[in-house]
């Protein structure tokens, strides 16, 4: 159940990252060729681009530091122990 909830949350984050990345890489939906209006003395699309970048930054921050989906320091030791155990087993297998 918990795993399903995590998967759903992960999918939502992935979708949001994907959409915002596309918007950071192209002006689809907010930029047009030729003359445009100004926001804060910049072309409106340039201002919106910077705004989208800032929003994506905040969402990434949330994902990396405040969600249960990312890796944390307390996870590190058990992961290292497991990996080192695997390496040890592999080495023993190779020697034999």
């Amino acid at each position: 159940m918990a795993s399903n909830a995590s998967k759903r949350k992960n999918a939502v984050f992935l979708f949001v990252f994907l959409v915002l990345t596309v918007l950071c890489w192209s002006p689809v939906g907010y930029g047009s060729y030729g003359e445009v209006g100004l926001i804060m003395s910049m072309p409106s699309w340039a201002f919106i681009l910077l705004l989208i970048g800032a929003v994506l930054f905040v969402i990434e921050w949330g994902f990396l530091f405040f969600s249960d989906l990312a890796l944390y320091d307390e996870d590190l030791e058990p992961i290292m122990n497991e990996l080192l155990k695997t390496i040890e087993q592999e080495t023993i297998k190779e020697v034999n």
Binding site: C24, L38, A46, L49, L69, L71, L83, E90
Partner: protein, 497 residues
Amino acid sequence: MLAAVIITGICLVSVFISYLAFSKGFTKNADDYFTAGSSLGYFILIFSLLASFLSAFSMFGMAGFGYRLGFGSLYVLTANLVPLGFLWYYMHKKTFLLGRARKWMSMGAPFGERYGTPMKIILVLVVLVSSIPYLVAQIQGIGVMLETMTEGLISYHVGLFFVPLFIALYLMMGGMKGAAWVNAAQGVFFSIMVFVLFFFVMMKNGGFAATMDQVLVKHPNLFQLGWSGGKVWSYPMIFGMASAMCLGCVCFPQPYMHAYASRSVRGLKAMFLSFGGICLVVITLPTIIGIAGTLIVPGLKGVEADKIFGLVASATMPDWLAALAVSGGFTAAMSTVNGLVFGNATNISVDIIKTLRPQTKPMDLIFLARIWVALIMAVCVVIAWDPKTPVAELSVIAFGTVAVTFFALWGAYYWKRATAVGAILSTVVGVSMNIAFFVAGGKNMVLFPQASLFQLNGFLASFILAGLVFFVGSFLTSPGKTEEKSLGFFFHPVLSK
């Protein structure tokens, strides 16, 4: 003269910082020299990674780009890099975890273990070839700006030797720890100086809004997308450049080296997240400085526009402050050369020499890495001798070329069915296509959308083809012994979070 003194002073301080790392014994063994013994805390990591990427391109090049092409340049190196917070984490989480468990020291290590030795060696060579234009861009930028700042006292050609000599010296001495310390100090310095320069340039014409209003009247193109008959900042051009720069960042050696050097998960995440956020602010400023520069120093063309950063500093600030501001750009270039040369020298020593001669002792590896640092620098100086392509374009070509290794990396960590044949073919085809486009149509074919490539630029066409080759090649071939053996480690259940 003052400028020359300030720059020499900065170079000497950098050498001194690296000497501290050397004298404190942080380069005693290979692990210390190449990965700083996985001991870097997050402040050093953040600014070291930032400085190792932000370069002559982000300061001089982006100011020149803004000057020539306007606000569309913001798609090249600002908001388009924010996705790296997630992308880097996703792609290099396993680099950090597996690297720590296996004590990896170079970027070829994961490729070698997952796909075998041939892929490891090909990768090192591809990264080296891709790094050269970017390194040349830095050294070229340093030479141009040194000549500008000293008003010809130090000529372009003397400038090519001046700073790289110092960089080679402190890299050879201090290893990864020395490089990271120097990078961090330089990163803080140039971030501050770009704010100071921005303030002075905007005040010259009565503030930001007044300056932009005047630019709009004189150069309305700079505020538009799709100008020059739809060619400049067309949607395909924007997408091609933005994605090339972002994906290239994933594939250069710096994130690998910093992931190995990170002490904690928190530091790793902070470093990856901060990069995009800081770029969003710190690189937007030189771009806008370049745009405002069209009012202060009009009429520069092509490579000459790379001088705009130094010229506006001279025109708007007292001499000593202008020298410091441009030195900020200098340190950005120095730290990038630093990070990239060190990454490549490590790759060659550990991935090629150690693989071909396993009996090589760790201290011999360090010695060979130092030799490679000097050799790579020398080659770049020779290529930069006769500059033809502006810094910004050289840099985008480099990032676009290295980005074709993206699929092999993704497959190594996230696709069990990936095979060595698919990875090798995709990398070789992608790089060859980039080189072929460059030879056939010059930088325009690589950077700008082409009707013959369905409005894609050469980079995107190569990237897409590399992806296709990777998937088709992997499906048509069976995983060999190396790929099968690697699955237990690379896809260990404990790595699923």
